[in-house]
């Protein structure tokens, strides 16, 4: 699961450099959504605070 955003970034960089800017930016936006989904999985547990 954690591999997917890096894979999408790698493709985004490659496409951007090869002149496919629109596709690269679209992939980037999809990647941000994927990262938000991963954040939901990893960042929504209760904080263990000791006062």
């Amino acid at each position: 699961m954690m591999v997917l955003p890096f894979l999408l970034f790698t493709f985004s960089f490659w496409l951007a450099w090869k002149g496919r800017k629109q596709l690269a930016v679209t992939l980037f936006i999809i990647n941000v959504i994927v990262m938000l989904l991963i954040c939901k999985f990893h960042m929504t547990s209760t904080l263990n605070l000791q006062f």
Binding site: M1, M2, V3, P5, F6, L7, F9, T10, S12, F13, W14, A16, W17, K21, A24, V25, F28, N31, V32, M35, L36, I38, C39, F41, H42, M43, L47, N48, L49, Q50, F51
Partner: protein, 190 residues
């Protein structure tokens, strides 16, 4: 401020990002600390900040390119803040995740980095002359393109190697919150 200065600021910004990501590799392979899922997410956001700056170097300056960088920096800042909050009131014996560097943990440095990125991009956006279509003289443009090409390959390699190491560490499933080995090398696919 000349347009060329804006180009150099973007270039050094991307190079700085590459330096930080290489520093993360130092902690991973020399200090032998496994990056946690939140650490990997922060690395992704740093690549995202670099993506916007790279678009500026390749296609010319646009506010939308800076927008992509800010989007990544805000997300990265939120992730770093969450990691700080995980250790802000620790139980006895919890000294935070990983070894501190110059007195601060890497996620605290990451938050400072993302805040600095947002402020720097905001300042760059104030300089509107960079968005004019008039370009640099051709020889200067060639020099910039060569350096930008080097920076692209550096970023591409960092993204690719991060992908490979994330695959080795987490396999194809969710990453453990406190990783202790490279799961895939121990036959764990998920």
């Amino acid at each position: 401020m000349k347009k060329r200065l804006a180009i150099y600021i973007n270039l050094f910004g991307v190079l700085g990002l590459c330096f930080v990501l290489c520093g993360a590799y130092y902690m991973q392979f020399v200090v032998k600390e496994f990056p946690c899922p939140l650490c990997l997410l922060q690395r992704m956001c740093m690549l995202g900040v670099a993506f916007g700056l790279l678009l500026n170097l390749k296609y010319g300056f646009k506010t939308s390119h800076y927008g992509l960088s800010i989007l990544s920096a805000v997300l990265g800042g939120a992730i770093a803040t969450r990691q700080i909050l995980l250790h802000i009131c620790p139980k006895a014996g919890d000294t935070g995740y990983g070894t501190p560097v110059l007195g601060l943990h890497l996620y605290t440095w990451a938050l400072l980095f993302f805040i600095t990125s947002i402020v720097a991009i905001a300042l760059l956006l104030l300089y509107t002359k960079q968005f004019e279509e008039r370009g640099l003289r051709s020889n200067a443009q060639v020099k910039v393109t060569n350096v930008a090409s080097f920076v692209f390959w550096l970023l591409f390699l960092l993204s690719l190697t991060n992908m490979i190491f994330a695959l080795l560490e987490c396999g194809f499933g969710p990453c453990p919150s406190d990783p202790v080995n490279y799961q895939l090398l121990h036959g764990q696919l998920w």
